[in-house]
């Protein structure tokens, strides 16, 4: 019937969508959901909190400041920064075994790697081995883009220039001193080592750096960072990679070495130890602190009591809250029904 069709030509479609009748789930904050929900979350959080807290408690951490602020410290002599190649020692004693694989960190405080310009002042193209940027680094690298003679600096920028250059050796003091072997491989992220940072393809490596100069604070150019191990040299030097992974906060620690030697694979035995520090990195000027940290790890990473405690607190609050809500609900529900 064409006439009929014509008459209703403008009738809107009768679909659930156009008529706003789409089937829907309509959750309501009812007492039956909210109160048990809080109890369940509370219980779950307390459980997680206990597990986290106990795990964190079982992690051993040994943290030692070696900035040399106190005159009693062996490193006091170096802290002024006047002595070249200053070496100082840091002694410590373990009364019981430091269990598990021990990780050796250095820590800096009041050090603003998180400052915008600090992070921005680097050239990722350069660091990925693109030689074009060896000759003309990005402008963000200023003031470490070119040196006074207008030679391009590689690696350029504040980040690279400020690389931490203290070195540490660990000795166990048993009948004289016994070197504890420190493993410097595999301390950086796999993706940094394998993808993000690439050396330019040239052999020998130094050829690629012709016409460039090292960052002014560095004692040796980047291609001489580790002449003993080709795979740890240049931009692939793991200490460099660790440094270049910029810290989020002004107090941070960075992995220096892992203690994996055969005698120490399951931990550091009790005894006296000394760390021999080549004290190069000046922090006194900006009131910074340097420290070494020995730590083992667990499934939840390094020691951090906060997460466990936070879970416990939040879990308990949930339980308390659920009770409050139950009381309020009970009190106000019934007059409503009348």
């Amino acid at each position: 019937m064409p006439k009929k069709e014509l008459e209703t030509a403008n009738r809107p479609d009768n679909t659930a969508f156009t008529q706003q009748r789409l089937p829907a789930w309509q959750p309501i904050l009812s007492a039956g959901i909210v109160i048990p929900g809080f109890v369940l979350i509370g219980l779950a959080f307390i459980g997680i909190g206990v597990a986290l807290f106990l795990t964190s408690r079982n992690i051993t951490v040994l943290e030692m400041d070696y900035t040399g602020v106190e005159t009693t410290s062996d490193c006091y002599k170096c802290s002024a920064g006047t002595l070249p190649n200053c070496v100082c020692n840091l002694y410590f004693t373990l009364n019981e075994t430091f269990p598990g694989t021990v990780y050796f960190y250095y820590g800096l405080s009041n050090y603003f790697q998180s400052y915008r310009k600090f992070g921005a002042s680097r050239d990722d193209n350069q660091l990925s081995g693109d030689t074009y940027y060896f000759t003309s680094p990005l402008a963000v690298c200023t003031p470490y883009q070119y040196d006074v003679n207008n030679n391009p600096i590689v690696p350029c920028g504040i980040s690279a220039n400020s690389m931490f250059n203290d070195t540490f050796n660990l000795y166990q003091l048993v009948n004289g001193s016994k070197t504890v072997p420190l493993d410097g491989r595999g301390i950086a992220w796999w993706s940094d080592y394998n993808i993000k940072f690439r050396n330019p393809t040239s052999d020998p490596l130094r050829n690629a750096f012709n016409g460039t100069v090292k960052p002014p604070f560095w004692s040796k150019p980047v291609f001489e960072l580790d002449l003993t191990d080709k795979s740890n040299n240049g931009f692939l030097n793991q200490d460099f990679l660790v440094w270049m992974r910029r810290a989020a906060l002004p107090n941070f620690r960075k992995l220096y070495r892992r203690i994996t030697g055969p005698d120490y694979a399951s931990g550091l035995p009790p005894g006296n130890y000394t760390i021999e520090i080549a004290y190069n990195y000046p922090v006194m000027s900006f009131n910074g602190r340097k420290k070494v940290v020995l730590s083992n790890v667990s499934w939840m990473g390094g020691k951090n009591d906060f997460l466990g405690v936070a879970y416990l607190v939040v879990g308990s609050l949930c339980i308390v809250m659920s009770m409050v809500m139950l009381i309020v609900y009970a009190k106000f529900k019934f007059p409503d029904d009348v």
Binding site: R11, P12, W25, I195, G301, F332
Partner: protein, 1167 residues
């Protein structure tokens, strides 16, 4: 007639803004005029300065380009739509001074139409036998309660007829008043050949009228386009913005201020940091040349402006437009607002005002065509003490009449109008039984009127009545076998029960507002002299013969019954006249009608004399049909605390009557005040009396709270009892005066119902403006005709009733639909949802952006206030556009807190919108506080959890990139869960959007941190590997869980407790049992208005010999019945006029001025 060389406005109205070439530059220019867009352009420029660029350029460019292109696309579509709306171009070319030809009965729908034209000449009609030369009717469409308006050309031009050569050669000069908006007045002169002819209102046609009763006419265009009286009456078109928009503007300014404060604080922080730490740290972090701590702080300020720009989210405005568009589509698509009868769906003509529909506090409604259908139907009658019209079953019970009730079969009468329906068979029986009273009754109806019949083909009768009431009565008589066939000045031809009879028409004693009756004196073919009279019952009753007293009592009962049903009644009476007496009377009548002095009075006296000792025949009851569901809708809306004011051009009685039948005025009301004074002091006094009656001892000075220096707001006051206010146009003119408007408004607001009658279009707008000015409330105006245009434009929301052919109101409206009752759904369902959705959207949108942004604030303390972002730049770019855009859009398009049935059952659910409860400055502040809390959690939980910690293989995880990833993941989860909490209606689409966005986040994150992306562009994707290295750590996930839960749980607890402790109307509504809609019954015993047009009749015209020159077509058999009740094409409308200017007010009080037409649209013209 010479065309003046002077520049006149042409008839063209330009509506499109762009063309293909100017689109891009013009549109961009326009867009950048918006503060938000300009702001982002400035941001972009800031980012190009390396020293302060804290973000890459793409973080701003990508959103900006997206936003600009979406907006540009929308503008382009709008423009194309408006180009398409331009219609026939020939109207644009009409110019002042042109002579145009107009044709009968045709109208052109479209807004481009005509001008203000004056007809100088009209030809002899070709076909229409009833039309005189030099006479025109401008229309009264059948759907309007309006009068035909008689227009007459000057003799000097009229005599030229359709001789085009003569017309073209005619040389004259018209001098007239400048363009104005007064519809009832025109003064001018025509100079021709040294002679001066005066031009008045009767010689002009207004734009928008329809030509009737003549086949064509010629006219001279006097004014065109915007200068026409119609357009002058339309009021200004203002760009409408919603209150949410205005609030947003304030909030955005606040946010700018807040942004400046934050950045200043951070700059100061930077200054301190640079001085205390930075200057020591220069060994590793050297400063650039010339940068000291202070300058660094200055740069930091700008850097933070860039970083924190997300507090003013660029996508906000675009999202709002999308949401409004979506919600507008729902209105277009709603089948419950589709009127099948006229095949008209509802239409959201403006897509930017939706949420305001959920905040309406005042509705201003037109009456005719809006509340009523403007269809008069002959419903009941009382003849000789017997009431007809009800359907009674065998038990004597009165049955309710509905669509299925059996109607009377008119097959016995070949001339019947098949559209007329009547349900009581007994009346037909009575007619067939030739009951003399019944026959006299209908004979009266077929004789006593001023209707004109047009019979283009035999049997196809078209009645052209001065008012729909008259048309209805004559049509009723026609169907009951007393067919008014034709008239000449001296006779009326009626087909009585199949026999044609010709009555000599000896006199018409015409209607006016004082007489409230009309009579005819006729001589039957048998030679019997008879006076037939119909009029208001009270008037007729005074003139009845004593012998009728018993019949009077019964008829009064019936009349009261009819009145109780809201019907308009007329009493009918007749009287046989003595030949001798009449001759003598006729003599005196002739003298009186040619008297130069006091003609009116003398005639009145004569009429008074002859119209006495009448014999009562009975009464008619005519229904001014309300549109379906009007009383229920009004009841629902007032339940929702919406106040409804009726603004109508109709007579006070008509308006009151409708007030009663719509249940707006009720018998139980404590008092109904009627203000109809004619000078300032009286009006003031009447208003004061009303105020005192409502609130005894109320202070005369209106309580006003000042907002700022200029804006005054009248507070709502509590009233005991219900009151009604009826005010007419004269009084309104005074009441709207500056000195009295506050008093008037206060009284009006204290009343439950306000009816303003006999108001001009402009006054309608003034009333709306008044409420807008002093009440902080959202107003809606609804109407269907051109006289509602000004009010529709003035109100916050204008609604046009569509489906009938009148287009002017619809074209100026923001929303249109076919029936008044759809207003309920538009407001209570669509409006409520739109408002709710918009508010939820805004709250959530601000929450998510503030939370996002504030995290930077906390990080500033750990990065030396260096404008270091917490997040990856890509995340900043995509956060608003990709990761969080769709879920919130989904919520804003689909959310329903309660379904439509609940909204109807609990109209109170509408109230929070009127009180701005869902989104206000307070709500905004709360939402900002919530964001502060969330941002604190979002920053410090990851901070503490990651502090000095490492991965489970001892490697770095507290690095910047991992921290950024952790924080942004926490953020995405938090805002998603928060959205889930806010959303009360999870459709599949919402599920898809929420889960899709989360999936998208991880997919995009892993993709951007992948090897491939890095190798392609190392400098752009420095976060390589972060996702892999970080998101495989259990403590990272535990941190995400803790952070998200900690952000959301307090909100859950707060909301739960709030529901328990302070349940809102929503929470309360749910447990209530659904209440059944009570059927509204009227129990009024008030006498309704009488069924007349309330305007001076044109009996003179009917009897003028000049007018009716042609004899009637001799009827013969073989009729084809296609006739309609009245023969007008449904177009245009009427509006009573009452003056706004004081000069007008000294009109004679006793006679109402003839009501004038505002014509809604078109005329046809053939050039």
């Amino acid at each position: 007639i010479e065309r003046y060389e002077k520049v006149y406005t042409t008839n063209a109205i330009k509506t499109s803004k762009y063309n293909v070439f100017t689109f891009l530059p013009l549109n961009l220019f326009e867009q950048f005029q918006r503060i938000a867009n300009a702001y982002f352009l400035i941001l972009l420029l800031l980012q190009l300065i390396p020293a302060i660029s804290s973000l890459s350029w793409f973080t701003t460019v990508v959103p900006l380009v997206l936003v600009l292109s979406v907006t540009a696309a929308k503008d382009a579509t709008d423009d194309i739509v408006s180009i398409n709306m331009l219609q026939s171009e020939r109207w644009m070319n009409v110019q002042v001074g042109d002579i145009i030809k107009l044709e009968n009965n045709q109208f052109v729908t479209g807004f481009l139409l005509l001008m203000f034209s004056r007809l100088l000449s009209s030809p002899h009609p070709l076909l229409s036998f009833s039309s005189p030369p030099s006479f025109l009717y401008s229309s009264t469409p059948p759907l309007r309660e309006t009068n035909l308006k008689v227009k007459q050309a000057l003799t000097v031009t009229g005599d030229m007829g359709d001789n085009i050569q003569k017309l073209a050669a005619f040389n004259g000069e018209v001098r007239c008043e400048p363009p104005n908006n007064r519809l009832d007045r025109f003064t001018g002169t025509l100079n021709n050949a040294g002679q001066k002819y005066s031009l008045d209102n009767n010689r002009i046609l207004l734009r928008g009228c329809t030509l009737r009763n003549t086949d064509w006419c010629f006219g001279l265009v006097l004014f065109g386009g915007p200068e026409t009286k119609l357009m002058k009456n339309c009021g200004k078109t203002t760009f409408k913005r919603t209150s949410v928009d205005r609030l947003m503007n304030v909030l955005v300014l606040c946010i700018f201020g807040f942004l400046a404060v934050m950045c200043t604080i951070l700059a100061i922080g930077n200054r301190i940091w640079e001085q205390r730490w930075g200057s020591d740290f220069t060994a590793f972090l050297p400063r650039e040349d010339g940068v000291n701590a202070s300058f660094s702080a200055f740069l930091t300020f700008w850097s933070y402006i860039i970083i924190l720009n997300t507090v003013v989210p660029i996508s906000l405005y675009v999202s709002m437009e999308v949401i409004r568009l979506g919600n507008s589509f729902y209105i277009d698509w709603d089948r419950n607002m589709y009127h099948a009868h006229s095949d008209t769906p509802a239409e959201a003509r403006t897509t930017t005002l939706n949420e305001e529909l959920g905040q309406i506090k005042y509705i201003f409604s037109d009456k005719t065509g809006t509340l009523t259908q403007n269809i008069m139907t002959f419903n009941k009658c009382s003849i000789n003490g017997k009431s007809y019209g009800d359907v009674i079953d065998y038990n004597g019970q009165r049955l309710e009449i509905n669509e299925n009730t059996e109607t009377v079969d008119w097959s016995f009468n070949p001339l019947a109008d098949q559209r007329f329906s009547f349900h009581d068979h007994s009346l037909v029986e009575a007619v067939k039984l030739e009951s003399p009273e019944v026959h006299t009754f209908f004979r009266l109806l077929s004789l006593c009127h001023t209707v004109m019949a047009e019979e283009k083909r035999e049997g196809e009768l078209l009645y052209q009545a001065q008012s729909p009431d008259e048309g209805a009565l004559v049509t009723a008589a026609r169907n009951f076998g007393f067919v008014f066939r034709s008239r000449t000045p001296e006779s009326v031809t009626v087909v009585e029960m199949g026999k044609q009879r010709c009555y000599d028409l000896l006199a018409i004693l015409d209607f006016n507002n004082v007489r409230k009756r009309m009579s005819v004196i006729v001589r039957s073919p048998e030679g019997k002299l008879c006076l037939y009279c119909k009029g208001a019952d009270t008037i007729i009753y005074e003139r009845l013969h004593q012998s009728c007293s018993k019949l009077m009592d019964i008829t009064t009962e019936h009349l009261n019954e009819y009145a109780g049903e809201g019907l308009r009644t007329l009493a009918l009476a007749c009287k046989d006249l003595d030949e001798k007496y009449f001759k003598e009377w006729q003599q005196r009548h002739h003298v009186a009608s040619t008297a130069l002095e006091d003609r009116e009075q003398k005639l009145d006296l004569l009429y008074e004399e002859i119209e006495k000792d009448l014999m009562l025949l009975g009464a008619t009851a005519i229904e001014d049909k309300l549109q379906d569901g009007v009383p229920q809708t009004i009841e629902q809306l007032s339940q929702a605390d919406i106040k409804i004011w009726v603004l109508t051009g109709d007579k006070q009685e008509t308006a009151e009557n409708i007030g009663y039948s719509c249940n707006m005025l009720r018998e139980e009301m404590n008092d109904i005040f009627i203000v109809s004074a004619n000078n300032t002091d009286d009006v003031r006094q009447e208003l004061r009396n009303a105020l005192n009656a409502i609130k005894p001892g109320a202070e005369v000075f209106t309580p006003v709270t000042s907002l700022g220096s200029k804006v005054k707001v009248i507070k709502d006051e509590e009233v005991d009892g219900e009151f009604g206010l009826v005010i007419n146009g004269h009084s309104l003119a005074y009441a709207l005066d500056g000195s009295m408007e506050l008093l008037f408004l206060r009284v009006a607001c204290l009343c439950k119902t306000v009816i303003c009658c006999r108001v001009t279009p402009l006054q309608k707008a003034q009333v709306v403006e008044l409420v807008k000015k002093y009440k902080q409330a959202v107003t809606l105006a609804i109407g269907d005709g051109a006289n509602d245009v000004s009010m529709i434009k003035a109100a916050h929301i204008g609604v046009g009733i569509s489906g009938q052919e009148g287009m002017q109101a619809v074209l100026s409206s923001d929303y249109s639909f076919a029936q008044f009752r759809y207003l309920e759904r538009l407001l209570l369902v669509h409006g409520r949802w739109s408002y709710l959705r918009m508010c939820k959207f805004l709250s959530y949108f601000f929450y998510k952006n503030f939370t996002f942004t504030f995290v930077h604030l906390w990080y500033a303390f750990f990065c030396g206030f260096s404008a270091q972002t917490v997040y990856d730049e890509w995340f900043i770019t995509l956060y608003n556009l990709v990761y969080t855009a769709l879920p919130v859009l989904g919520m804003s398009l689909f959310d329903q807190d309660v379904n439509d049935m609940w909204s109807f059952q609990h109209p109170k659910l509408y109230v929070p919108g009127q009180l701005n409860q869902y989104f206000s400055k307070t709500a905004f502040f709360k939402c900002a506080l919530h964001s502060v809390y969330s941002s604190v959690v979002l920053f410090f939980i990851p901070y503490a959890a990651m502090y000095d910690t490492v991965r489970s293989d001892g490697k770095d995880i507290a690095d910047y990139q991992s921290f950024a990833l952790l924080t942004q993941t926490c953020l995405v989860f938090t805002v998603c869960i928060q959205l889930g909490l806010d959303m009360s209606y999870w459709t599949a689409v919402n599920q898809l959007f929420v889960w899709g966005s989360l999936t998208m986040y991880f997919a995009v994150t892993f993709a951007m941190y992948s090897n491939g992306m890095y190798l392609a562009a190392p400098a752009s994707f420095p976060f390589i590997g972060t996702a892999r290295n970080s998101l495989n750590q259990p403590n990272v996930w535990l941190t995400i869980l803790l952070t998200s839960i900690l952000c959301v749980l307090p909100v859950v607890a707060y909301r739960f407790l709030l529901i328990q402790l302070r349940p809102t109307i929503n929470n309360k509504a749910a447990p209530l049992p659904p209440k059944r809609r009570a059927k509204i019954r009227r129990s009024s015993t008030r006498r309704s208005g009488y069924a007349f047009s309330h305007a001076q009749g044109y009996g003179d015209l009917v009897t003028s010999t000049r007018f009716l020159r042609r004899p009637a077509i001799v009827p013969s058999s073989g009729f084809t019945l296609l006739g309609r009740t009245t023969g007008f094409s449904p177009m245009g409308r009427s509006a009573g006029y009452s003056p706004t200017g004081h000069a007008q007010n000294n009109r004679p009080r006793d006679v109402e001025a003839t009501s004038l037409q505002m014509y809604s649209t078109a005329q046809t013209l053939g050039l």
